[in-house]
């Protein structure tokens, strides 16, 4: 277990866990905290012993937004020069599966952090939302883009315009999140999913993540070409041999990530 200023980092059976830890302010994200999250996630991405990354808060909140006080004095030019959202882009470059484990609230920047993850598991009582509009601003760390890709333009506009809380069931119905579980079970169910994923062939997961991600960005033909190349690339792994041999030999495969 490593502690940074605003997060805790731990590892368990090949799963790297980043826990947001500013409990006194419901894990509101400040800039230092985002730096720490990104740095630790990149470290996990490079660490060969880690196969899946989990981001979680505590049982009251995933993250209840950004640190408003930090922004009070900002001017357009000061933000342009500081460029605080640029570091978020590095989250999109993580190659390993990233799961957000959400309890309580995921609002504003906290919701954006969850949306930067590949999969989202949430408790039944979780409230998601973009309340920025009520402060006379708007989401700034990818909210308008990620939510629109997840639920389509009309629903995304409704939620981001009104700034109301979206409950877990609504988020689930629109494919914004993957699973809704009992609030008490969020961490346990997340780890169960993470362990399942950690037994899958890591190289396949990596190539799949890239191909699925590109499906949202590329034309169909370009996406198909990329998929094909990644399919071919998988055949260079020992896990491909192991997987196919195990199938022929009617046994369970054991994937080593090479």
């Amino acid at each position: 277990m490593t502690d940074r200023s605003y997060i805790k980092v731990s590892r368990e059976n090949g799963v790297g866990v980043i826990q947001l830890h500013r409990p006194e302010v419901a894990n509101a994200l400040n800039r230092k905290m985002v730096d720490e999250i990104v740095e630790e996630m990149e470290a996990f991405d490079r660490d060969a012993s880690i196969r899946v990354i989990v981001v979680k808060g505590n049982n009251k909140a995933f993250a209840a937004g950004a640190d408003i006080e930090e922004m009070l004095e900002d001017t357009p030019l000061s933000i342009e020069l500081l460029d605080p959202f640029a570091i978020w882009d590095r989250l999109t470059l993580i190659k390993k599966p990233v799961i957000a484990s959400v309890n309580g609230f995921a609002l504003g920047g906290g919701f954006e952090l969850a949306l930067h993850c590949d999969l989202i598991i949430a408790g039944e009582d979780v409230r998601f939302g973009f309340p920025e509009v009520k402060l006379g601003v708007m989401p700034g760390a990818g909210g308008t883009q990620f939510l629109t890709k997840a639920m389509g333009k009309r629903k995304a506009l409704e939620w981001i315009w009104l700034g109301e809380f979206m409950d877990a069931k609504e988020a689930m119905n629109y494919g914004v999140i993957n699973r809704v579980v009992a609030p008490e079970m969020v961490v346990e169910e997340t780890m169960r999913l993470a362990e399942k994923l950690s037994k899958q062939p890591p190289i396949s997961l990596r190539l799949i993540k890239e191909a699925v991600g590109k499906a949202e960005e590329l034309s169909l033909m370009d996406g198909m070409k990329l998929e094909r190349k990644n399919f071919y690339l998988a055949f260079d792994s020992q896990d491909q041999k192991e997987g196919m041999n195990a199938f022929i030999e009617k046994r369970s495969p054991f994937f080593r990530g090479v």
């Binding site: 579980v181 009992a182 008490e184 079970m185 346990e188 169910e189």
Partner: protein, 261 residues
């Protein structure tokens, strides 16, 4: 525990049972905006108080609750806004309380007062108790969760009759329909109500909270979804102190002493 000065209800806590009594007897305990708020407040207090294991809701005087006071309703009333502001927060609060709520329906429960009784987890009645779905009599529809709960409690056909025909349901009929758990004679009322509440308070209320959370809404879900919810809820229950106590009591051939944790 801080003591709160309630105006429209009374709140009493005795032997693990919190009793919330609607206390406007001269108006047959009809709701006011303040009463809606005070009920929510009292439910929060009872939810947070670890010593409270069961909540009884009842009425002072002859009636349980006459529903909304029609004196304040006229052609300018926006009924939807009214429900969203006044009643929905109260009904949601009742649904979210993880502890057993017993409606001790001492007299007439009419309109939203009937909805309140339906929202409770159990209903105790007297033979002279009357449930009156008065809504259609004044050209309105049942509200405050009535249309969700009643068909789930007694089936659609009977629920529709009650909603539409507006004929009062006596305590005896309610008991036969399965709407009421017990029918109690007025002479034994206070004693038997408390006895029932005490028995609820002695249960594994941790497990009760999980049943309440999933069973009714489970009627909207598929078999597979309910199975998964049961697995997760059983995992939670399986880690509770109540479960441990239950297992020990079983092995030691004694009665379990549940704490609700």
């Amino acid at each position: 525990m801080e003591s709160i000065d309630y105006q429209t209800i009374t709140y009493e806590h005795k032997n693990g049972v919190a009793t919330i009594a609607l206390n406007r007897p001269t108006a047959y305990n009809a709701f006011t905006a303040e009463m809606n708020k005070e009920i929510i407040k009292a439910l929060k207090v009872a939810s947070k108080d670890r010593d409270v294991r069961c909540i009884v809701m009842t009425g002072t005087g002859k009636a349980f609750c006459a529903g909304e006071d029609l004196g304040g309703v006229d052609e300018n009333t926006d009924h939807a806004a009214f429900l969203r502001k006044r009643y929905h927060p109260m009904m949601k609060a009742i649904k979210e309380v993880p502890k057993p709520i017993v409606a001790a329906v001492n007299g007439t429960a009419a309109g939203a007062g009937m909805s309140l009784a339906l929202a409770a987890d159990f209903r105790l009645v007297q033979p002279k108790t009357k449930f009156v779905s008065a809504f259609m009599n004044i050209g309105l529809i049942p509200d405050s969760g009535f249309m969700y709960v009643l068909p789930r409690l007694i089936g659609y056909a009977k629920a529709l009759e009650i909603a539409v025909l507006g004929k009062p349901i006596t305590g005896e009929e309610a008991y036969k329909l399965g709407l009421a758990t017990k029918m109690i004679e007025p002479t034994e009322w206070d004693e038997k109500v408390h006895e029932f509440a005490l028995s609820m308070a002695g249960l594994s209320t941790k497990a009760f909270g999980l049943i309440k959370r999933y069973m009714m809404d489970g009627m909207n879900l598929s078999f597979d979804e309910v199975l998964e919810q049961e697995a997760q809820a059983q995992r939670i229950a399986g880690m509770s102190q109540d479960h441990l106590e239950g297992l020990n009591a079983f092995k030691e051939k004694r009665r379990a002493e549940f704490s609700g944790n």
